[in-house]
């Protein structure tokens, strides 16, 4: 076949198979001026052995020209809907302004990960010497950039009406709870390309993605946020491609060499646990932050991990891959972690970019029904006590900074499953220094690579080291207020972005604009603040 005929008017149309071969595999070549090992220096040090990159299968057989066409069409539809949403004041169709806090969490916690994934796949694509894998990485890299952009564009409309959405990328790099998603991705990106792709494509995109995507997108649909639903749809076909890449890459590595199995199992264990800990924030959103709830975290975990994930690992058993270590712990914890996580944010609401609140009676009854073994016994009494405090005009906060897990960076709020009122704490000593963890899963990650994780940027420790103040701040000045300075460095406005929802300008504005309250008639914990 003559490739030069491609542009001539007489050229016959290429079959899909030919086109795929020409526009993907034929784009690669073996270098001769420099050795392949010098050109691709990063794809061996992790110990993964690849003998024949041609065995890589592309389940989608997508070529770049088709890719541009599909993506362009999706963009046009998305932006038409976003325009219509803005023109029709779609922001007033949401359930109530508490819902917007899920968008704040998404924009500051998840959208920057989309951008990080864009960078990560660009690096992975550059590092892998197999052309099929490189093209798949390249497409995913562009997808992720598009997702970051469409999310920012969609949510920016809310920024005109609600507080806390103004500086998401600045916050992502600094805020104490945003170090949880940030450090997760930084860990993956500072590993080698095979660990990165196992971590993100397999463990996150394949095994756990339904637990990120479904709650946010269904939550948006249930709560009247059609703009977010639309970017969800626009990303969905990409996500299924990403999931397939995740499975393909793991199967490919396993088939290439039996020595790869123990390395991959270690990564599956590590990244299952890290992803699961990260999803705690999503579970908290489902159980506490959506005014209209879709399903509980426990139900989602049962459906998407215990059932679907169980089937996946049965399928992978023929390669020798086992169910991730500590999946049994996650199963036990499903009735606790979201209540514990909301406790963290309620404790430190004065320093967070989302508002917090005590669920109303109806919402507490929902939680009791969904968590019959735990909610009334362990969590309702503290919520009711805190509500009494709030009614008495003493909205409680925790004024001491928390102890963090060295790995997941979440405050050490998780408890022992055989004794749910006892904090779970694990410890390692490395080069004479103590390190603390929330779980055996996190301790195992540290013990596997202590040189790496002793470098963790733990927000609480960084504050105490004096690294979280604006340039030129003098902490030795009389009357120095460290918390105020840290919040200024975060770019959080304490009169609008932080603190209790009930006294926030967001609530006051919402009720002024819509006349709708989130509280049942007669229930009024506190008067709203003056509208801002």
């Amino acid at each position: 076949m003559n490739q030069n005929n491609n542009t001539a008017s007489s050229a016959r149309r290429l079959g899909i198979k030919e086109k795929y071969a020409l526009m993907t595999r034929s784009l690669g070549w073996d270098t001769t001026y420099q050795s392949m090992d010098d050109v691709f220096p990063f794809d061996q040090f992790e110990g993964i052995k690849i003998h024949d990159w041609d065995k890589w299968e592309d389940p989608f057989r997508l070529t770049m020209d088709a890719y541009w066409k599909f993506q362009g069409e999706k963009e046009k539809k998305l932006y038409a809907i976003i325009d219509a949403f803005a023109q029709n004041n779609g922001q007033f169709n949401i359930t109530d302004a508490r819902y917007v806090n899920t968008l704040k969490l998404f924009l500051t916690g998840v959208s920057p990960l989309e951008y990080a994934a864009h960078r990560g796949y660009a690096m992975a694509g550059r590092s892998l010497r197999g052309v099929g894998a490189r093209i798949a990485s390249q497409m995913q890299s562009i997808d992720e950039l598009r997702h970051a952009q469409t999310q920012v564009h969609t949510i920016s409309h809310y920024n005109k009406y609600f507080n806390g959405l103004h500086d998401f990328h600045h916050m992502h790099d600094r805020l104490w709870y945003l170090s949880v998603p940030k450090s997760y991705f930084d860990d993956a990106m500072t590993a080698g390309p095979f660990e990165f792709i196992t971590a993100i494509s397999f463990s996150f995109e394949y095994v756990l993605t339904n637990l990120l995507f479904m709650p946010f997108m269904s939550g948006a649909a249930y709560n009247g946020d059609m703009a977010t639903v639309t970017f969800g749809f626009s990303a969905q076909s990409d996500e299924s491609r990403h999931m397939t890449l995740g499975l393909e890459v793991v199967k490919f590595m396993l088939e290439q060499d039996p020595d790869n199995l123990p390395i991959i199992q270690k990564w599956v264990d590590k990244w299952f646990w890290r992803g699961y800990r990260l999803l705690t924030l999503v579970g908290m959103m489902m159980d506490y932050m959506l005014p209209k709830r879709v399903m509980s975290w426990a139900e989602a975990w049962e459906m998407y991990f215990e059932k679907n994930g169980g089937a996946l690992f049965e399928d992978l058993a023929r390669y020798g891959v086992k169910v991730p270590k500590y999946a049994d712990v996650a199963k036990l914890e499903k009735e606790h972690i979201t209540h514990q996580a909301w406790g963290i944010f309620y404790n430190y609401t004065q320093a967070a970019g989302i508002h917090t609140w005590i669920p109303n009676d109806e919402e507490m009854d929902w939680l009791a029904a969904k968590y019959p073994n735990t909610f009334n016994q362990y969590y309702r009494p503290r919520l009711e006590h805190l509500r009494e405090q709030e009614k008495a005009g003493k909205r409680w906060v925790n004024n001491s900074l928390p102890m963090l897990c060295q790995i997941c960076q979440i405050p050490m709020a998780f408890t022992e499953m055989d004794n749910p009122t006892k904090i779970a704490a694990r410890e390692s000593t490395y080069h004479g220094m103590k390190f603390h963890f929330c779980s055996d899963g996190c301790k195992d990650v540290f013990d596997g690579e202590p040189e790496k994780f002793q470098q963790a940027w733990l927000p609480v420790h960084q504050i105490y080291q004096g690294n979280c103040f604006r340039e030129g701040t003098d902490p030795t000045q009389p009357g120095f207020d460290p918390l105020a300075e840290v919040l200024a460095w975060y770019h959080l406005d304490t009169s609008a972005d932080t603190g209790e929802y009930n006294t926030s300008p967001d609530r006051a504005n919402w009720e002024r604009w819509t006349g709708r309250s989130h509280l049942p008639a007669g229930e009024s914990p506190a008067a709203p603040a003056k509208a801002a």
């Binding site: 050490m412 080069h431 220094m433 103590k434 013990d447 040189e451």
Partner: protein, 120 residues
């Protein structure tokens, strides 16, 4: 097990060496059965601070907002250091009580089990 790195013998910088905390060392403190405080806290304290001062001057600011705090009988309090029983000498410094940078101590207050006995 060594780090998986391109460069043999790679070690990174230790982010939280004691020298970085301006003369203090970190002490983590947790109050058992009082999980209204979501997690143990992290405090930078001078190694020379007497343990008694930790109890009389520091803990009220940390835990005083809990209704159980005023009811604590300090002679009954059980302490643990990294999970092991620990009997602090109130007159000695944190350091002389064997507490090092990033030690994790917990107190249990018998008879007090949090809001409505829920461990909160």
């Amino acid at each position: 097990m060594p780090v998986i790195a391109l460069q043999p013998g790679y070690t990174g910088e230790v982010a939280d060496a004691e020298a970085n905390f301006h003369g203090n060392r970190l002490l983590y403190i947790g109050w058992e059965d009082h999980l209204m405080f979501c997690s143990p806290v992290c405090l930078p304290l001078p190694a020379a601070m007497p343990f008694g001062a930790l109890v009389s001057d520091v803990l009220p600011g940390v835990y005083g907002s809990h209704p159980d705090f005023a009811r604590i009988d300090w002679s009954q309090v059980e302490w643990r250091d990294s999970g092991k029983p620990f009997t602090p000498n109130q007159a000695l410094s944190l350091a002389d009580n064997g507490l090092v940078h990033k030690s994790f101590i917990q107190l249990r207050t018998p008879g007090l089990a949090g809001i409505a006995g829920s461990g909160s």
